[in-house]
Symmetry: C2
Subunit: 259 residues, 2 copies
DNA sequence: CAGTGGTCTAGACCACGTG
DNA sequence: ACGTGGTCTAGACCACTGA
């Protein structure tokens, strides 16, 4: 019945067995040849599935030896990554949001550079406080390019995921680059999250683009550091985490510099 | 002359062109057929290279249309990720370290669970303060399993990367899971980093395993939040970032809970 | 509708590990 | 020595994009 690529079916099946702990860390998988026969696929197709799981950090291979189970893979949903709502529901919480402000403005120099437009062009800025089970845990300050911002006006910004709703309009987010650091809560942050000033916040700055490389939005999200953490898997062959010196890009807030 | 897989040569070549900005975001790559001819490879080999670059967030594809350049990929060296020294040098800084303490202890309950050993077994704990150009920027509290810890005693822990030195002994780190959050500096943190108490720190807790899934170490690294940030790329097809609620695992430090 | 990427096959040779 | 994963080829069909 299913209209699904065979390599994905194989990957899903193996992932399910790992998550169900039928395959525990250290376990050796059957050889690619055996898997190919078992699934009625060619070896190339089996390898496509295995490489997918390797990218998720679930398994590893060494030449000459069989594939080995490393650990349960992360959930790995791209939508859960952009969307607070989708993530919260997957965690079993009731997501909420309070639209504090949606305004049309002219792009600052920073907006222009990040969104690849000219300074002074129209952009939309959205400020929301997101809640989990009534408790505010995150402040979201997002800047959208004009065509997307115009759509936002007609959307329900209070509770629904805007990314799901934008998807219905054919707006697809394909890629995002995240910069994560720790900063003290400003006076406004403290007021919105109902916490003391200078409480450590986990800040995630994000720039998202479409499938064709067109910048769609950038966002400055600040989480209560005592409630939310980020988890990243990476392996020797794949993974995309990098440390970075907090650069001079932030001339706005007086940052302390090295030497 | 070169003893290198063809698909890696192709990936390196295309990545170099993107980094050199010969290929700018939005640019359409030649078709897979054309690339195959240009590099004297089969289409399958070219696709292997393109999929590598897709995993790095550098390019994206849509059925029916050509591959599109998205952005410059991250450096993506696994060793730079584990190793403060390797990272610092790549950033053009002089890494330094002060070994504050290396001790042999009995595994706590948490050690035992993380390293998959029995509580009470021998482990080694290393505390280091790492510096960039003489300025302390990070505190590293690492716990190693006994066989690795024993090697540490003979290593130069003051300035060299222990991971590079362990590699010479055949100890290979293959996979790591990172949990990143923000916490206030404790009194000891503040003293070691020479900063005020409760300054926001970027905490990275890491668990590393070998190629066969054997846990090798876990670490609690705390960075000055105003100096170091983490950067992550992720795409709809690949990427491994996940938000997580700070769970009850940390019963040690009194964390505030949600409802 | 011509060209593109996505999927899949059947085979081949090699370098490496484990017994 | 044998089996394993890593690499590579040549060809096929399909779904989709874009002119």
């Amino acid at each position: 019945m299913r209209e699904e690529p065979l390599h994905r079916y194989i990957a899903d099946e193996l992932r399910r067995q790992i998550l169900d702990e039928h395959l525990v860390p250290g376990y050796q998988l059957p050889s690619e040849h055996e898997l190919a026969q078992a699934f009625g696929a060619s070896r190339g197709t089996v390898r496509q599935a295995l490489n997918q799981l390797r990218g998720e950090g679930a398994i590893a291979a060494r030449r000459g030896a069989r594939w080995v189970v490393l650990a349960a893979p992360l959930v790995q949903s791209f939508s859960e990554l952009l969307s607070f709502s989708a993530w919260a529901r997957a965690e079993g919480h009731e997501p909420g949001g309070t639209e504090v402000e949606l305004s049309r403005r002219r792009a600052t120099q920073h907006d222009a550079e990040t969104l690849n437009i000219a300074a002074g062009e129209s952009i939309y800025r959205l400020l929301r406080v997101r809640t989990l089970s009534e408790t505010p845990v995150m402040i979201e300050r997002t800047t959208f390019i004009e065509p997307i911002g115009r759509l936002l006006v007609d959307l329900d910004l209070d509770s629904e995921s805007i990314y799901e709703q934008l998807g219905d309009h054919g707006i697809v987010f394909a890629r995002a680059r995240h910069t994560i650091d720790a900063i003290p809560a400003t006076a406004e942050d403290a007021r919105l999250l109902d916490i003391p000033r200078r409480t450590p916040l986990l800040r995630q700055r994000r720039a998202s683009t479409s499938q064709t490389g067109q910048p769609l939005e950038w966002s400055d999200d600040r989480y209560r550091g005592d409630v939310v953490a980020f988890v990243i898997d990476n392996t020797a062959m794949s993974g995309n985490l990098e440390r970075l010196l907090a650069a001079e890009e932030d001339a706005e807030s007086g940052e302390s510099k090295l030497s």
